[in-house]
Amino acid sequence: MSSEDPSEADASSRRRLLRAAGAGLAGALLAGCGGESLRAQVHDAKPILHTDVDLLNHLLHLEHVAIAAYTAGTPLLAPQTLKAGQLFLNDELAHAGALAGLVRAAGGKPIKPAPSYDLGHPRSSEEVLALLHRVERAQISAYLEALPRLEPATVRQSIASILANDAQHVAVVRAALGKPAVASAFANGRE
């Protein structure tokens, strides 16, 4: 590890800040991340279409499922992957916060988490990883489906950014399962 690499050292300190601030501040924190903040994007010239509320809420529902899966499953993960589970749970919380913000900006009401989700009964670290793999793939598939249907383009940018992060999760989970980490040149949710 090159400790003097400024991009990685900077990323680590930003990551700590993000975890401390909580998912609810995801939109504001994006302002310091090299991309246009979600809040700035929302206040861009073109409004988010009200017709996109259902689509955005569907994506938010999938984030709630992922949050439930990581919350329930992470304690069962082996020590070498436990930290990844905790980090990825934080990511999904941030995604949910961002999507909720987009739903509100579109004039809608963000869907709330369900009281419970059918996640099966994983009992081992490997079974939890398999569950997380399924959940993340479902998200990737849904985000790709949604991408060309959303307006304005800045919302598509945000969705692409979240999609790519979920793809990163898939790569780590696949590696932990002993599979080739990057299954395809084109992420599709079937990897």
Binding site: C33, L147, S161, V170
Partner: protein
């Protein structure tokens, strides 16, 4: 009949026109960089799908050159080489896919890897300080590939703001996701066990 403008009025008018042009160009550049919304009425056309995907194609051809140089070096351990080698195949698929779309748009679509001089110019444009020629250690290889994967991510993230074609929007999402996976695995190999360095953010932007 209107009086002819004085010399002072002509100079003042030329200065005002020049200042407006600079202002419009600056605003357009900043808007394109995604830093601010373009001011209403700014006469800055958004880049075309062909322009955006040409930039992505240049990034992909740069990636192909970089992966080839890394894999030709003796710097990688066998285990790392086994993981990284398939990524070259992915980048070649990206080149082919983007080039096919560019050809369909009637744009130039070169598919060979960039020559060294063009590659170094492209890297300079993206402020990538890693070397394509001094790959003596595994760390040199990681730094080069990780920095360039960030450039590739950024090309698609930036393009997404202005791409009009749904097929290109979807393709860009798929490829950006793959480049993010490459970035994560390379960072994970570089920093074993440090997941926060492999996936440092809930969002992927790449570099501009």
């Amino acid at each position: 009949m209107a009086p002819r403008p004085t010399r002072r009025e002509l100079i003042r008018g030329a200065l005002a026109t020049g200042a407006a042009s600079v202002g419009a160009a600056t605003a357009g550049t900043a808007a394109e960089a995604g830093l601010v919304a373009a001011p209403a009425g700014a006469d800055t056309p958004a880049p075309s799908d062909a322009e955006l995907m040409s930039r992505a194609l240049e990034a992909e051809r740069l990636m192909v050159l970089a992966y080839r140089r890394v894999l030709e070096s003796d710097a990688l351990t066998p285990g790392v080489r086994r993981v990284v080698a398939p990524f070259l195949g992915h980048e070649l698929e990206h080149v082919a896919a983007v080039a096919a779309h560019l050809s369909a748009l009637g744009a130039a679509a070169p598919t060979g890897p960039l020559d060294l001089r063009s590659a170094q110019a492209a890297m300079g444009k993206h402020r990538v300080s890693a070397s394509l020629t001094a790959l003596g250690t595994q760390e040199d290889c990681f730094k080069l590939l990780i920095d360039l994967e960030s450039v590739a991510e950024g090309a698609y993230y930036t393009a997404m703001k202005n791409l009009r074609g749904p097929a290109l929007q979807r393709l860009s999402g798929q490829v950006m996701a793959c480049e993010a996976q490459h970035w994560t695995i390379l960072s994970g190999l570089r920093n074993p066990g440090e997941y926060v360095k492999a996936v440092p953010w809930p969002y992927v932007f790449g570099t501009k």
